[in-house]
Structure formats: C-alpha cells, structure tokens
Amino acid sequence: MHQFRFEPIRLPPAATEMRKRVRAFIAEEIAGGAFTPSRNSWSTYDAAFSRKCGEKGFIGMIWPKQYGGHERTSLERYVVTEEMLAGGAPVGAHWIADRQSGNQILKNGSDKAKAEILPRIAAGQCFFAIGMSEPDSGSDLAAVRSKATKTDGGWKISGTKVWTSNAHRANFLIALVRTSPKEEDRHAGLTQFIVDLSHPGVTVRPIYNLYGGHDFNEVVFDDYFVADDQVMGGVGMGWKMVTGELAFERSGPDRFLSTYQLLAESIRKLGPAPDDRAANEIGRFVAHLATLRRMSTSVAGQLQKGAQPNVEAALVKDVGTTFEREIPETFRHLIPTEPTLARGDSYPELLGMTMLRAPGFTIRGGTREILRGIIARGLGLR
C-alpha cells in the first residue's frame, strides 16, 4: 500500500520575498488599469500581461538560466502562482507552458527545442496547448488514434485532438500520438511531439463551452510534418512522460482557487458582521481552504525534492475541486440572487459565470472518477 505523505513544508525566506514582489506587481498592474481582478484567472488569456510576467521573471522560474529561466525553487514558483490566482491576474496565456509544457521540454526535449523554445516561454512570448484528448480518447488516454508515420527527417501526423484549450492562439501544442500499432501493452507505442501551430496544414475549429466562451478547440492534422528534433524524449516514451507530468498538473493552487474570487466577493457582500448561518459557511470554507493550501504546498515541496507524488496530487485535485464547486452552491443560499449570463463584475454576473464554469473543474486535468481510481490504486485496491 502506498503511504500518503503530506510532509509539512516551511516556505523559505526567498519565497516570502517573492510573495512581496509579486503582490506589488499585481497591485501596480491593477492600479495602472492593465486588468480588473479577473473572475477566472487561469482561463483568461492576455498575451500582453504574460509578456510583462516574463519581463518580471515570473515564468520559467525553476528552469536553468541557460534557457531563460531563473533557477528558483519550486516553492518560489508556487508562491507566484498562488498569488496570481488569488489576485485574479489574467495568467491564462502562459499557464500551460509554464506549468507543464516547458518542464517537459526541459526534461525531454531536443537541444534545439530547449534552446529555441524555452527562452521564449520564459519571456512570456510563446504559449502552449495540450494535445492529449481526442474524440474517442478522453479519460482513456491510451486509446488515442492520431498517428505519426516516419518520413524523411521527421514524421507526418494525422488525426484529431479535442478540448484543446487555446489552440487558436497558442504557438505550439504537445501532441500525444501513436507511432506504432496498439499491442498488448496499450501504453506502448505512444510518442509526444512538439507541434508548431503556425505552419499550414493544421485546422483549428472552435468548440464553444456552455458558458458561450471560446477556450476549447478541435485540432485536425492532415499529414502534418513534424521534424525529428521535435520528438520529445524518445519514440514510444509518450505514456511515461504524460503520466510523469501529472503531479505538476494536478497538485497546484489552480485546483482549489478557481472560485476564490466568488468566495472573497461573497464575504464582502455578507459584510463585517454576518449572521451565524453565514459565518458558519464562511468559516467552513476558510477551514477547507487553509487545509488545501497546506496539502498543496506539501506536494510542491516534494516536487522540489524530485519526488513524483502522483497519488498525493490526485488527492489534492479531488478534494480541491470538490471544494471549488461547493462555493457557488452554498453562497447562492446566503446571498439570494438570480445568476445571470451577462458579462461583468456584479455579483449575479460573477455567480452566473462561476456556476457555468464549475462543471469543468471536476473534469479538466483528469475527471474526479479517474482521480479516485488513481487514489484507490495507491491504497492497494487495484
């Protein structure tokens, strides 16, 4: 049986310093009118803001300086991400590249990819999308059917990816495709490629979400050429890499702060002296949030040490996204209001947006059910 470890972590003084820096930056940006605190921080795409983050050294923080990084610790990076989310900063453009794609390239990319792409990501000028899901491959990722066939100097990719957030505005996508036919080991024969979306031959079609927003896309490749030096790791190593990045993808503050703005606005609306019923619910959420932060920072500490705490990350995401989804469900009782579809900063607008975004929280990045399966395996049940 797996032993869950949530070792306590003390943030080093450098992280505290970093917190001050990023807070000052956010305050300055708000004051300068660069953004109004967003209701949907890491889904809000703002390339200009990302460029400023790059200039300030808030992207690629843990990467080597050689590649434009800043050689900081995971914990300093953690502080930056949580401050950005809590501050409602529009970090959506660089989020995926900073959280996972860049780390993958650093670990598994060719020298060329590392030298050319990482410095641009760190500068906040190059954005990524995730190319994992397909029409017939969602939770069952090993069922991907997109395939790459070897050709001179590279590969030709054919197939369709879906739910590809930001593919219509990102520079690159990391695609998981089949490079050899399915065998008994269905996890074998999968390879990841860095795909430059600026070349002709790729079709990106929008998939509007139920909120009416355009984050998702369908991406179709038709014999799309990718050079050999854009293979990640090695041919057939795709599955290992995909599962290797899960702890980064699942344990961060983005898995429990998606509705933080609604929590804060609700507290504001309920005023400095709420009645017992309201105080009880506020207190409950604060207790959950403080605990989740502790769990999440603990995983960040383990990642810093080079561990791969996938089960702990699944636990953080399952508990965290459950918490995120309870926030609109509870406050709608305490602040009677009819949520609206209109876009804006008023409470009914914020509530409406949060409610219509909420179903995604327990689906994106691994559904609740998949996570619980991973946890069960960790418990020795599978």
Partner: protein, 355 residues
C-alpha cells in the same frame, strides 16, 4: 505498521517514539481492556505503562517534570493513542500539564483532567475555595486531581483541585469514555494562579488535542476499510475490486489526508500556546471529516462493521464523540467566519498566507 497516511514527517526521533508508543498500546490495549474500560474499569495496566514511558508529561519542560520533548512529537504520540482507540485520559493529562505550566503552577503526578473550558460554565474561587458545576468532565471520576478554569473576583484563574467529593454523576460519551458531572461546593483549592483567558485557553488546547486524536482515528478507519475491502469476497471477488467501493475509500482517503494536514498545521502553530485561527481550522475541518469518514468506514464494512465484535467501532465511536467535544464544527466555523468577516474580504488571503 502499515499506515496509509504517513504522519511521521520523516522525523526519525518521532518514528522511534511512535514505535515505543505503538508497542505499549499493542501490549496493554487489547479488546478485554477496552471492553472493561467501557464498563467503568480504570485501565490501570495501560495507564502505568504510559506513565513509565513518561508520555503524558514528555513535552513539558524538565523543570516541570517533563522531558522537553518537542510538542509535535508528543502530539504525534497522542495521535497514535487515538489510532489504537486507547481508553485513557492522555490528552486531558497533556492539556492539564500545558495549562499548569502556562500558569506557573507545579504539575502533580498521575492522571489529570480539565474542567471549566465549556462555553457558559461558571466556576468561581473565593477565599481559596472553588464553587460551581462542570459538565461532562472527561474521566472526572478516575483522576485524583482536576485542573479548573475559574474566575476569582472576575479575574481568570487556573486552579488545581481534588476530584474527591465533587463527583455527582458519570455519563459516557458514544465511545464509552466516562464524562462526569463535577459539582464543587467550596472545594479546597490546592494551587491557583492567574491565567489570561483560562477557559478559552482550555477550550483551544482541548480542540487541538481532539483534532489530533480524530486524525489518528480516521487513519485507522481508512486502514480498516482497505483491509476489509481486500479480504471480503462477494460476487467472486474482493469487494475492493468494485469501483463503487474504490471510490468510497478514495473519498475517505481525502478526508484522512486533509485531517492529517489540518491537525499537523495546528500543532505546528501551537507549540508555545494554541493558535486560535489554526486550531479553529483544524477542529472544523477534522470534525467534518470525522463524520463523513466514519460513515464511509461503516458503509464499506457492511453488517460486519455494525457488530460489537469488529474493532472498527472503537475508532468510529470516538470520532462521533470527539467531534462534539471542545466545540463542534459549527462552533469553530462561526468563530472563524466572524474573524474573517471582521477583517474583511481583502484580508483573507494575507491571513491564509501568513502576511
């Protein structure tokens, strides 16, 4: 030991202590001892084994008869005692010791308990005598001396009194642990000293210990669940192979992990004195997990866990008792909610991140 939730913190001294403590419980806390305790028989063997290890006072300074053990290590040992469902006032003796040291008073030998920390209780000292009634005092009839949060001419005091003569009635909590009504009628005060907010301090110390204990009991609930799901065969396979059971246990694991994290954070923040915010977070979060976790633990065990024979109830009945002692979830949530609301929405994030 096959703990699903590893709370050892990678600390080898703590691991050694936990092993020693586990051995004491394995040797002295078997089913007959637990059953006899529920019938009102003081578990003398278990308690003296704990005294021999010096556990109840280990975290106190040497000058107070302790061993200067880090508070976190002592709390970890307390957590192990709860994991084993030990029917002893270990938490209460630890709380009493901390309070006496805080008030500058001598810590007596033997099992101790505490009274006067319940909201609304009035215990008053006048001319060296204590009067008033305290409800549901843990092991009130089994401890020779009681540490009481009282007032003297309106001033908060901590007092040590003899239990003898004060016992009115003994009830039991759901786990069969004695909870006594103690009525003091001009009882002789053995020692007393002013202690700021003594009743509140006692409530916080109690809530902290109960959070730690519940985290330990939840850890065992999860382990019982995993073990049973892997051995119980229905429809030709262990029930743990069914997704419905796997998902139940995954949710329980989330509650157990959150409880560990919340209790650890509160302990860390409370080495010198309880940290109100973190203790409130822990008692609220762990208390919620206790109810939800115990429910899942039983659901997984089916009828078997509903019996007296199975040992699951030694931990789940404690969870159902402890979540209501020293303030239930609502008590702490309302307090937290008021604290946060009074400071305003913009202060919440700095509060959570420590500045």
């Amino acid at each position: 030991m096959s703990a699903a939730v590893d709370a050892s913190d990678g600390n080898s001294m703590r691991d050694d202590l936990a092993k020693t403590v586990d051995r004491v419980f394995e040797e002295h806390c078997d089913k007959p001892v637990r059953e006899a305790a529920e019938d009102g028989k003081w578990p003398a063997g278990l308690w003296s084994a704990l005294e021999e290890v010096g556990l109840a006072r280990a975290a106190l300074p040497e000058s107070a008869g302790g061993a200067d053990l880090p508070f976190g290590d002592a709390m970890h040992a307390l957590r192990r005692s709860a994991y084993h469902g030990a029917p002893v006032p270990l938490a209460e003796t630890m709380i009493a010791g901390r309070l006496l040291v805080a008030a500058g008073l001598k810590v007596p030998q033997g099992a101790l308990t505490v009274a006067g920390g319940r909201p609304g209780e009035k215990l008053e000292i006048a001319a060296g005598k204590l009067s008033g009634t305290a409800q549901r005092v843990p092991w009130g009839g089994d401890c020779r001396q009681i540490v009481v949060a009282a007032t003297e001419s309106g001033k908060a005091m901590l007092a040590l009194v003899a239990a003898e003569g004060a016992l009115q009635a003994t009830e039991k909590n759901l786990a069969g642990e004695p909870r006594a009504t103690m009525q003091f009628k001009s009882a002789q005060v053995i020692a007393s000293a002013p202690l700021a907010n003594a009743a509140e301090r006692m409530l916080l110390e109690g809530a902290l210990c109960r959070s730690v204990q519940m985290a330990g009991a939840l850890e065992h609930t999860l382990e019982y669940g995993i073990a049973y799901a892997n051995e119980r065969v229905q429809f030709g396979r262990p029930i743990g192979k069914f997704q419905a059971i796997q998902h139940l246990l995954a949710v329980l694991a989330g509650h157990a992990a959150a409880s560990s994290a919340a209790a650890d954070a509160a302990v860390e923040a409370s080495a010198a004195a309880p940290d109100e915010f973190m203790v409130a977070v822990a008692k609220a979060r762990v208390g919620e997990a206790a109810g939800k976790g115990a429910e899942i633990g039983h659901q997984v065990h089916g009828a078997m866990g509903y019996t007296r024979e199975h040992n699951l109830h030694y931990v789940t009945r404690r969870l159902w008792s402890w979540r209501d002692e020293f303030g239930n979830e609502s008590h702490w949530q309302v307090r937290l909610g008021r604290m946060v609301a009074a400071k305003g929405a913009d202060a919440l994030w700095p509060t959570l991140t420590g500045g």
